[in-house]
């Protein structure tokens, strides 16, 4: 009803039709994907993400935007709640507020983070060792001179 009056008093020009047609035609040009393919891609995306988190399917929006020379897929998928999994470790619920971006993989992050912390720690001692090795040729004369002294 409101739409009717809107159309009555301010007839919508055909430029909005042109804009919409242009948007759609360029979308498929850039992707070489038909609109129904885009729709099924969106449904598949939602299905995959729904395995990990509860999403608001009605508010999901998948669009494609051109950024300079590349095309980016923008998926706006509102998350309603996290799906609790039996083996999830206790720090998982506290992870989303600090790092909201990777909630699905957050279950694995504590473990990988520890590995990452441990990994660099042996490296710094390793570097000086190498340096010492390199210095050895220069050091050996002094060692050599020290060696004959007792002998």
């Amino acid at each position: 009803m409101i739409d009717f009056f809107k159309k009555l008093f301010k007839p919508e020009g055909s430029s909005s039709t042109a804009r919409e047609r242009l948007r759609l035609v360029l979308l498929s040009d850039h992707l070489s994907l038909a609109p129904d393919v885009v729709e099924s891609l969106k449904l598949d995306l939602i299905a995959v993400i729904s395995k990990y988190v509860e999403v608001d399917e009605a508010a999901c929006d998948v669009t494609f935007e051109r950024q300079d020379s590349a095309i980016a897929m923008m998926a706006n998928i509102p998350i309603l709640a996290m799906k609790t999994r039996p083996p999830s470790p206790p720090p998982a619920p506290s992870a989303p507020p600090s790092a909201p971006e990777p909630p699905p993989s957050s279950f694995g992050t504590p473990a990988t983070a520890k590995v990452a912390e441990e990994a660099p720690s042996p490296k710094p001692p390793a570097a000086p060792r190498r340096k010492r090795r390199r210095r050895r040729p220069g050091v050996t004369p002094s060692l050599g001179s020290a060696a004959p002294a007792p002998g």
Partner: protein, 280 residues
Amino acid sequence: MHDVQPEPVAAPIPKPRGRAIVITSGKGGVGKTTTTANIGAALARSGASVVLVDADVGLRNLDIVMGLEARVRHHVLDVLESRATLDDALVTDKRVSTLRLLAAAQTREKDDVDTNAMHDLVDTLRERFDYVLIDCPAGIEMGFQNAIVGADEAIVVCTPEVSAVRDADRVVGLLGNREKIWLVVNRLRPALVRKGKMLSVDDVNAILRLPLLGVIADEPGVIVSTNKGEPLALDDTSPTGAAYRAIAGRIAGTDTSAPVIPTEPTAMQRLGAFFGGSAR
């Protein structure tokens, strides 16, 4: 004491290489040739040496728009195939002495042009002229490839139509990495835009996202000027001519003002036009 080094003082300062700019659009009939003629005339009038190259082999038009068709003796393929020297083929403009035209062959096909030879020709022209403007044929086939091969910069001409924007978008993708790709929006009808019946400049550039060089209104003066073979850019009384001169200024870097979007003529201007204004 020191070795005698050759003094470079006496050597003439080499002219900096000119700029090669291709005017393209993808879609035909959006005003590439008119844009080429007017930008060339405006650049030349400001003192630069300019050569216009008609790369639309088989459908020669630039000479007509420039009003130089009677002076053409040789064309670009005569030069590429060594039947004529470059100097023989270059036509000097009637009005601006620093403006030259290299016409296309009318009775040949686009595939007859050797892409490497075309590249070399543009390079040769860049040694001699400040600006080499190449009028690209419609389409994205061989003629397009030959027209863009020597150009570092491109001007994409687009009208506010779905088909033109789509083709321009495709062409921008095909142009790849150029030093600069500009946009000229041609044939804008301000009254229709106001009524929401035509895509606006913003609508067009929301898709193409190119630096806007200028906007040309769809007005009778453009048709009249092509009828006569006199580029509007040389007409001091024409607002469209002024718009072309501003475009030339932006290319040269002398005009840093933002492009003016044409507005509807006032009642007085319409009255003036009715009683025999500039458009005849």
